[in-house]
């Protein structure tokens, strides 16, 4: 199997021939470029399949694995248009506190409309910022040259899920994405794991910020613990298992990773005191040694002797990051994302081996997946249905749309069932198609496709000239769309239906818009 693929890859990039002789899918450099662009990127932009094929698919993959070396000034410039990035965590915390105070005041004044949307200027600004954060993710995914990097940012955002609408996470999430997820998305897993454990967004989301040793008391006045947002009015009084459980079940070992309820409790004890400063003081990570349980603990049979402080959680995180169950669990999810909803064992094995060799360097794990036989196997080509984000971004890329800072496209992603940063449960959006493919969502995709192609999505204007020329010849039109948007995978049925639909439309500009809308809303474009 392996030799077969090595052979195939050598053909694709015209490297010196190696052993093996069997036929392998995909059959042409264009096909493999399309496959790589569908999986490592958010789909091809007009002309990109040809560019990647001409330069060599493996060379393009290698370049994507080193995102720092890819010039990305265009998207950096676009990102600067999002003024939410000019505000740090402290600024957003203050804005949030101000909105909350105003709301409380309205409630106290007996304003019965206090539960209705708050249309005060400051509340509007808060909502605009929230919408910007979501739209920024779409813009980066659509326009960045570091496509694989953006895919991985989305992957880790779900793996280390936080919920944007939970209390303080309203102002902690933007910082979490910028300074916890993004800097580590293609580094070492251990660094990412430690960064998320220390992140105020995660500490708040999974309640660890207020997990303390039973009976512990702060040296400073209790009021120091009281929060602006009134989520908690009383001082915490004991351990909270929430983060500990999800750390083991979701972030590292996996639910079958061989831990017990006892392990969960002792992990929670190890993390007692990992907390957050008050929002007015910037809401940074803060370790409270007074809150830390300094007793003996045991996790997965390993002793954590008494007398330690913050260091023992770091020791635990390193141990978890390097645990075979973690390697397997995370590798499996990566294979699910990049290869097949039902990840082949061989892919997982290759990824785990690379993880062991590289001590959890994510780039090496990814390289092993992309160079493995399963990634290129015929059974896995177009075997996945795009997620809502993948569909919307790939559609925008297909028609060369340049989304602006208005949240139009982010709203479409939400309508398709997966609003960004708003998966309430800590497991993040699932990697399996049955989570997002259903009759309602399929109709919504068709609607979004037609609207995008017809220019009815202000803020994301399609440049159809770069897809296909305006022509009265339906065969030429359809051929252009097939090549430009579907990489030549359009079915005979789709060609027939589009031809029939445009046959009585006299305005060729309208005919093209309808044809593009049908192609993007049609069945072939839903797959990757």
């Amino acid at each position: 199997m392996k030799t077969r693929v090595v052979r195939f890859l050598t053909i694709v990039v015209a490297w010196p021939p190696a052993v093996g002789a069997q036929h392998a899918a995909p059959s042409t450099p264009r096909d493999s470029a399309l496959h790589a662009l569908n999986r490592l990127a958010y789909g091809p932009r007009p002309g990109e399949i040809e560019r990647v094929a001409a330069g060599g698919v493996l060379r393009w993959i290698d370049a994507q694995l080193a995102p720092d070396k890819i010039d990305d000034e265009t998207v950096a410039k676009r990102a600067r248009e999002f003024d939410v990035l000019k505000y740090d965590r402290g600024d957003l915390a203050r804005l949030y506190a101000e909105v909350q105070r105003a709301r409380q005041q309205r409630k106290r004044m007996g304003d019965t409309a206090a539960d209705k949307p708050d249309d005060s200027p400051i509340a509007m600004r808060g909502r605009r910022f929230a919408a910007q954060v979501q739209q920024l993710a779409v813009v980066r995914a659509a326009l960045s040259e570091r496509q694989l990097y953006e895919v991985m940012v989305d992957f880790w955002t779900n793996h280390f899920n936080v919920y944007f609408a939970k209390g303080a996470d309203r102002f902690l999430t933007p910082d979490y994405i910028e300074h916890t997820i993004r800097p580590h998305a293609m580094g070492r897993f251990e660094d990412l794991l430690i960064a998320t454990a220390k992140s105020p967004a995660m500490l708040f989301y999974l309640d660890n910020w207020q997990s303390i040793a039973p009976g512990a008391f702060p040296r400073s006045p209790l009021s120091a613990l009281r929060r602006e947002d009134q989520e908690v009015r009383r001082a915490p009084k004991g351990i909270n298992e929430n983060y500990a459980r999800e750390l083991l079940e979701l972030h590292t070992l996996g639910v079958d990773g061989g831990y017990s309820q006892h392990d969960v409790i002792d992990v929670a004890r190890i993390f007692t005191g990992w907390s957050i400063r008050r929002p007015q003081q910037g809401a940074d990570f803060e370790f409270h040694d007074w809150a830390h349980d300094t007793g003996d603990k045991q996790v997965l049979g390993i002793e954590f002797e008494r007398g330690h402080g913050m260091d023992e959680a770091i020791r635990l995180l390193k141990l978890l990051a390097d645990h075979p169950a973690t390697m397997h669990h995370v590798s499996r999810k990566l294979c699910q994302r990049f290869v097949n909803d039902d990840p082949p064992d061989g892919c997982v094995d290759d990824a785990v081996a690379a993880w062991q060799r590289s001590h959890g360097d994510i780039r090496d794990v990814l390289r092993a997946i992309f160079h493995g036989p399963d990634f290129w196997a015929a059974a896995n080509i177009r075997a996945k249905v795009k997620t809502p984000l993948e569909f919307v971004v790939s559609a925008a890329r297909a028609v060369d749309a340049e989304p602006d800072t208005t949240p139009r496209l982010a709203q479409v992603v939400a309508r398709l069932g997966e609003p960004l940063y708003l998966h309430v449960a800590p497991d993040g959006y699932p990697e399996r198609e049955d989570a997002w493919v259903n009759s309602g969502a399929v109709l919504d995709r068709m609607n979004a496709a037609v609207a995008l192609a017809a220019g009815r999505l202000p803020g994301a204007v399609a440049t159809l000239d770069s897809v296909a020329p305006v022509t009265a010849n339906p065969v030429q039109l359809i051929a252009g769309i097939d090549g430009g948007i579907l990489g030549g995978t359009m079915s005979e049925n789709t060609k027939r239906v589009i031809a029939e639909q445009v046959s009585d439309i006299t305005d060729p500009v309208q005919a093209r818009a309808l044809a593009v809308g049908l192609a993007i809303g049609g069945p072939e474009f839903q797959r990757q």
């Binding site: 009084k237 909270n240 049908l518």
Partner: protein, 420 residues
């Protein structure tokens, strides 16, 4: 499925002709796999509405064991004071924010069941929800949900796309499977959008042909269900709906979902199994007692169920609403005036067929010695016994062991939720 669909294509052509549609329309319709409206469903079909409280509701503060001093001893900050509880039977009572449901209790159309849950000990939301929806506790590999398996094994109602509907953007695990089921985020906006009706119909047909011809796998099944549903909804016209009897649904997703369920029930489109879910029950911190976070969620739930019952009026005689939640919460409050993940919880049953006015299930008590792992309410009713009873005695399901593989449903263990 395929046979009845072919029959419909034939009769549908006739119906269109009689409506005087233009020939071009007919030509296009004939090219595609046009599907007409299903026949008007008979009245009085039983309907099951499942309502999932995601996040693990605190059963002890929903159906309060106010007659047990241990309840008050274990929850000094979050117990509902006896003076606030709406007493039901001298021992249990409703949370005060569920008071709107008391008349339904008094008229024997509301029951509760306590100490119900999973035989699996997991305290993971995801596992426990998964098991409650797959109907196979402890077995992760089950590909489909138990509501879907019911639909697979009872094939009487296959002539309507609205037989099984989940109200929300995602089709939930409980309805995942090979039997057709719909996910509807917004009944009014369901379907293709276009400025004029003619353009909308044309787009609908075009996409229907695209998917009928080239879609594979789940995409194919989902799109097929979608287009059947679009046809039916055209007839129902949800934009004109007014709740009956002054029913006032709370704003928010839950109220909207239940309003739409009531609407489809009354429209007789063949709805048999409906599903909605509501989040916000994971009250680790500051859950509150008479007032507070949990109280607010319960108020929304109580008002929604009350509005639903009012809106349905006599139709409620054919309907059972069943609430469920993946597990309960710790008997003792935690350090943050909240509760952590526990084991057994309470569920509610509402509707004409319900054996109402009683708290069902064997109550294990709150004594630490009888608790699960010393901390949680023990499970005395396997949730499958309740679900199986509702399927068998309300919907008339016959093959219960196929719906709950690995489990032998025994009528002797049914908790007695449905009137005989």
């Amino acid at each position: 499925m395929s046979i009845s669909r072919r029959v419909f294509v034939k009769s549908g052509g006739v119906a269109l002709f009689s409506l005087g549609m233009d020939p071009l329309f007919l030509a296009r319709a004939a090219l595609g796999s046009y599907k007409p409206l299903p026949p008007v469903a008979a009245c009085c079909r039983p309907v099951l509405v499942c309502l999932f409280q995601r996040g693990a509701v605190d059963g002890l503060n929903m159906i309060v064991p106010h007659g047990d001093p241990l309840y008050y001893r274990e929850r000094p900050r979050i117990a509902v004071p006896q003076s606030d509880v709406v007493d039901l039977d001298g021992y249990f009572g409703l949370h005060p924010r569920l008071a709107a449901l008391k008349p339904l209790w008094d008229s024997k159309r509301l029951a509760a069941i306590h100490a119900i849950g999973s035989p699996d000990a997991t305290r993971s939301h995801f596992d426990a929800q998964d098991y409650m929806e797959s109907g196979t506790p402890g077995v992760k590999a089950t590909p489909d949900g138990w509501l879907n398996r019911y639909c697979q094994h009872d094939r009487e109602h296959q002539d309507t796309p609205f037989r099984a509907v989940a109200f929300g953007p995602e089709l939930p695990r409980i309805l995942a499977g090979t039997a057709p089921s719909l996910a509807i985020a917004d009944l009014q906006a369901f379907g293709l959008r276009a400025p004029q009706a003619a353009a909308r119909d044309r787009l609908t047909r075009a996409f229907e042909e695209l998917y009928a011809g080239s879609a594979t796998g789940l995409l194919s099944a989902s799109s097929q269900e979608a287009f059947e549903a679009v046809q039916t909804l055209k007839r129902v016209d949800p934009t004109q709906y007014q709740p009956a009897n002054g029913a006032d649904y709370p704003r928010g997703k839950l109220g909207k979902a239940m309003l739409e369920i009531a609407q489809l029930i009354k429209a007789d489109v063949g709805l048999q199994v409906a599903f909605a879910d509501v989040t916000g029950w994971d009250t680790h911190v500051n859950q509150g007692a008479t007032e507070g976070q949990l109280a607010a969620r319960l108020a929304e739930l109580g008002q929604t169920l009350t509005a639903f019952a009012q809106d349905l009026g006599e139709k409620l005689d054919d309907v059972v609403v069943l609430t469920m939640s993946e597990f309960g919460r710790t008997v003792r409050e935690n350090g943050n005036s909240g509760t952590d993940h526990g084991h057994a919880t309470a569920m509610l049953l509402l509707g004409g067929p319900v054996n109402g006015g009683r708290v069902l299930g064997a109550w294990p008590g709150l004594d630490p010695a009888s608790r699960f792992e010393g901390r949680d309410v023990a499970v005395t009713t396997d949730f499958r016994d309740l679900f199986a009873e509702v399927l068998a005695r309300h919907l008339g399901a016959r093959d219960l062991s196929a719906i709950f593989p690995g489990f032998t449903p025994d009528p002797a263990r049914f908790p007695g939720a449905i009137r005989g």
